[in-house]
């Protein structure tokens, strides 16, 4: 692109005595500017943050006296427990004394479990109880709350995990 007028010597012969007017090229070398332009593009592409963080709302239940709590049919409840290493445990209804309905799952399967439970129970009674264990991470908690939104679960609550459940979790090797 760099063009300089070097055609002073040679060139087409004009007649003798005809002064050759020197023509200056008006074309400017654009290469460095374009280089700089692309450099800036790469810089801005890398630094830009396109996705703004979003906020997820959570409403906490007020701690109320036992007698004021609305009693739901226990069979409509799905209790999901979060353990370490992204393990998920769950049981439907009430926990059997021998822990026979205590099942293990993972974050992939839990969606189907929630959907199935939602389908098979009366929407009046359907409720998900989330019990994050002490070794679960914040990500697990957010993921499971997100799952509530994804599956359009209207009623869910976050409850402290009980000792019995903790024992069952550790007994199942996690």
């Amino acid at each position: 692109m760099a063009e300089m007028d070097t055609s002073s010597g040679g060139g087409h012969k004009k007649g003798p005595g005809v002064k050759k007017s020197k023509k200056l090229s008006t074309r400017v070398d654009l290469t460095p500017m374009v280089d700089l332009g692309f450099l800036l593009i790469t810089f801005f592409i890398f630094t830009t943050t396109m996705s703004q963080p979003t906020a997820m709302k959570l409403f906490l239940p007020k701690d109320v006296e036992e007698k004021d709590q609305n009693k739901l049919k226990a069979s409509g409840a799905l209790t999901i427990m979060l353990a370490k290493d992204n393990n998920v445990f769950y049981y439907e209804g009430e926990l059997a004394p021998d822990g026979s309905n205590f099942k293990s799952a993972n974050f992939k399967d839990i969606r189907n479990i929630i959907i199935n439970k939602k389908k098979t129970t009366d929407s009046k009674d359907f409720m998900v109880v989330i019990k994050p264990g002490p070794l679960s991470t914040y990500k697990n908690t957010v993921d499971i709350l997100d799952e509530m939104q994804i599956n359009d679960v209207k009623r869910y609550a976050m409850v402290d995990i009980s000792d019995v459940e903790l024992k069952l979790i550790s007994a199942s090797g996690s």
Binding site: V34, G37, T48, G133, Q149
Partner: protein, 206 residues
Amino acid sequence: MTAMCDVAFLLLAFFILTTKFKPSEALSVTTPKSVSSEAVVAKDVVLVTMDKDGKLYFSVSDENESEKKEIIDLVDQWKATGLTEQEKAAFVRPSSYVGVPFNKLKGYLGLSAEQIKAYKQEGVPIHDTANNEMMIWIRAAATAFEGQKMNFMVKGDNNAKFPSFKGVIDALKKNDILKFQMITDPENAPPGTELHRIQTARQPAE
């Protein structure tokens, strides 16, 4: 060539205009993803940050200088930390955050901006329910923001353990703040799910 340059510079202009520099954050936190699509507000924010070790930090948005002043005054008064005006001003300073127990607050706020970067904060103590210091901070914030809107937010790292988050929830519950927001990264609803159906059904109506 000309056409390509045109496009290139158009792109350049676009990125220059859309870019928004992240304020350099001393706390690096990778937030989890969620399908929530609500944008985070920047004003009147009381933020509790949870880093990957589960340590907690308390901060208030820069726009609310007067509230920040009130919060530190209240904390100083309640906990008799004996802060000087200068140390209080350190808290009111933009993008300040606190991640130390009350007994170290005076020493921490006395540090210069460079020293703070090097200072290893241990986080606001929370695990002991009897001595949940985050509760005091939140109460001070709730008092300072009384009568106006306060957006309480929690920004947690993926790897933070649940008990830290539980501590924040407890602190909030004790202050009767039952509504709060968690800062997350956006994510699309997985196809085939209920939410996906709701969202796609809503779109043509809009």
